[in-house]
């Protein structure tokens, strides 16, 4: 397939006055990859995308696209397409004119524009709306128009800033799937900003987890899920989020609220740790930690339990066996390999 669309960020810093929005961002995206920038709101994802697009200049650092330093190049000379969170459609133009605009700007001939616009509109299923103005479209249709405008010119990079965040839940799910298919069929490099970890997990080939202007971890979604490298990443990825409890490690066991669980980690000596267990990895089995069921959220095929264990609150997701009642005393445990350990002071993975 096409080998265009390689991106390299080298020590990118962005200051707003004294506030550093980005504190040194490094990553490389391979051609054809679907790369997600994931992180809580305000963590610097949009800033990163805008610097990649050429809409903003970094304070320092270099942006390289396809081996060429483009740091000083304006957006209009970078050959990238972008879908804005606000869609940013031209309000005075029809859908057709909106989609045709990037082609006209590239001096594509009239005869080629018409079929290209229809093709792009057909791909996102708005070919029946070409004569409408953006103001006459629903949110979902506007979003598709913005998508069509971005895919029509076959740019080397396809940038999306929270494109689904203004859609309702059902439409968001549908569009998510279509988006993935679209990217696959186009074979284009996509950089996708989202604060929704589920979106990143399902869409991305790889993702970068942002926190406070820094990348905490880069990897395939399954890797990041399986081995979060800090407490913050662990708390951010997964739904419901990972249980994180203070405890103490000593020779192959962790001690939580005075009770011991076996772990497969082997660390020299004993130390204070933060113990992480995913709700889905919690098992209701005898011989574990004694807890009380506070609340049961029955989701049909699974149930999420809120448990109290001494001073700590834990959540467990159970999908088989009898669901305990509220107020009932249970014993919870986890397999040794499902126990994550983080250093209590550095909060990094051990």
């Amino acid at each position: 397939m096409n080998m265009r669309g390689q991106v390299h960020f080298d020590r990118i810093v962005k200051m707003h006055g004294n506030f550093s929005a980005l504190k040194g961002i490094d990553f490389t995206i391979q051609p054809g990859e679907f790369f997600a920038l994931l992180g809580p709101s305000g963590s610097g994802k949009s800033t990163t995308l805008r610097i990649l697009a050429g809409l903003d200049m970094p304070t320092s650092g270099t942006v390289v696209i396809d081996g060429k330093d483009v740091t000083a190049l304006d957006a209009k000379d970078r050959d990238v397409a972008m879908v804005f969170q606000s869609y940013a459609l031209y309000p005075h133009m029809t859908v057709f004119e909106n989609i045709a605009f990037p082609l006209e700007m590239a001096k594509v001939g009239k005869a080629e524009i018409e079929p290209a616009v229809r093709e792009a509109a057909r791909k996102v299923k708005i070919d029946h709306l070409l004569d409408r103005k953006p103001g006459q479209l629903s949110g979902g249709q506007q979003q598709r128009c913005a998508l069509a405008r971005a895919i029509v010119r076959k740019a080397r990079l396809f940038l999306l800033d929270e494109p689904l965040s203004n859609l309702d839940a059902k439409l968001r799910l549908e569009t998510r799937i279509e988006l993935k298919k679209l990217q696959r069929s186009l074979g284009v490099t996509a950089v996708y900003v989202t604060h929704d970890q589920e979106e990143a997990m399902t869409l991305a080939d790889r993702m970068a987890v942002f926190m406070e202007g820094q990348i905490q971890q880069i990897g395939r979604p399954s890797e990041v899920f399986a081995k979060p490298n800090s407490v913050d990443v662990a708390a951010f990825i997964g739904s419901p989020p990972m249980n994180l409890i203070e405890g103490r490690y000593a020779d192959g066991h962790v001690e939580i609220e005075g009770h011991r669980l076996r772990t497969s980690h082997q660390i020299a000596g004993s130390r204070n740790v933060i113990v992480g267990i995913r709700p889905g990895a919690m098992r209701l089995e005898a011989g574990g930690l004694p807890a009380t069921v506070d609340l049961v959220e029955d989701l049909g095929d699974t149930a999420v339990l809120d448990l109290t264990l001494g001073g700590a609150t834990l959540r467990a997701r159970v999908s088989d066996g009898p669901v305990p009642k509220e107020g009932q005393a249970v014993s919870v445990t986890a397999r040794p390999e499902d126990i994550h350990l983080f250093d209590a002071t550095t909060r990094k993975r051990l």
Binding site: K76, D79, M82, F84, S86, L89, F101, R149, R153
Partner: protein, 314 residues
């Protein structure tokens, strides 16, 4: 289905609607009477100051009313209008009016838009610029005329003449030469009123969303293409509105020209308004002057009708 929908809010409707009960109907009538009473003085004042003088103007325009020869006064039908169509000075003044209006309005819009774009691009000092810009607008046109005549255009001493001499053009008779005098009054009007166009267009520009300009940059539009394809079309309603308002004012301009040139030299800067004034109050032919004023009114109405049609088109 529809019935049940209609039936449901009926209880609410009885309380709210003025026609629900006798009591509320009486209340509505009383309220309407009160509103009429409140409005009446303003309405009468408006009638007395606009409609009545207009009717009186039309009435005098079909009379001969000559303060110099009162014995010849009387109803003359459309004689004044017939004379007007033969009057080369009328046609000349109409031409001056159209040139004056056309050039000043175009200049105001073009310069106002250019300034607005410039100021939008400024990182700081926008507020200061707005305050400076508003100054000419708040001056009385008569004062503006006097200032230009004495400080700016006076031969040898005026600032403009000084610069002309510095530039090697030599001292010019700015208000004595027919062409220069017309240029001068156009420049004065433009100087005074461009800030108005500037401020309206700046406000409209500031209201345009940033994100579509970023989208256009991503779509590889150059600065000129962004201006032509995005800014201009989105600013069009504001531009047309400015054109309409400024055209109305320019067609009926008076004070500045009156104080600067008085319509001269000869009739070089005599706009239709000024000709009607001179006819009525210098030559004292009130009947004919009124016919000229009615002609100006007709021209103004016709032009505004065209402009409003343009505004409505798309």
């Amino acid at each position: 289905m529809a019935k049940s929908l209609a039936a449901e809010p009926a209880g609410l409707g009885r309380v709210m609607s003025p026609s629900g009960t006798d009591y509320s109907r009486a209340l509505a009538v009383r309220e309407r009477r009160f509103a009429t009473a409140l409005l009446a003085p303003a309405f009468l004042a408006l009638m007395a100051t606009t409609t009545f003088p207009l009717l009186y103007l039309i009435w005098t325009s079909v009379h001969r009313m000559d303060l110099a020869m009162p014995f010849a006064d009387g109803f003359v039908g459309f004689d004044n209008y017939r004379e007007l169509l033969q009057d080369s000075r009328f046609w000349a003044s109409l031409a001056v009016s159209l040139i004056y209006t056309g050039t000043t309005v175009v200049l105001q819009v073009v310069i106002g838009l250019a300034l607005a774009l410039l100021v939008m691009g400024m990182k700081r000092g926008q507020g200061l610029f707005r305050i400076i810009a508003i100054l000419p607008v708040v001056l009385s046109p008569a004062v503006v005329g006097m200032v230009w005549r004495t400080f700016m255009l006076a031969p040898e001493f005026g600032i403009v003449d000084y610069f002309a001499i510095m530039a090697g053009l030599g001292s010019q008779n700015w208000l004595g030469d027919p062409t220069l005098a017309l240029v001068s009054v156009v420049v004065i009007h433009t100087w005074q009123w461009t800030p108005f166009a500037f401020m309206v267009l700046l406000a409209s520009l500031a209201a345009l969303p940033d994100d579509i300009y970023e989208a256009a940059r991503i779509d590889r539009a150059s600065a000129w293409q962004r201006f032509k394809r995005i800014t201009l079309p989105l600013l069009r309603p504001a531009i047309v509105m400015v054109i309409i308002m400024r055209t109305m004012v320019a067609l009926t301009a008076f004070a500045a020209i009156f104080t600067v040139t008085g319509g001269g030299p000869g009739t070089a800067t005599e706009i239709l308004n000024l000709y009607a004034y001179r006819k009525s109050f210098t030559e004292l032919s009130i009947g004919y002057g009124s016919a000229l004023a009615v002609a100006l009114l007709i021209v103004t109405v016709l032009i505004s009708a065209v402009l409003f049609a343009v505004r409505r088109a798309r």
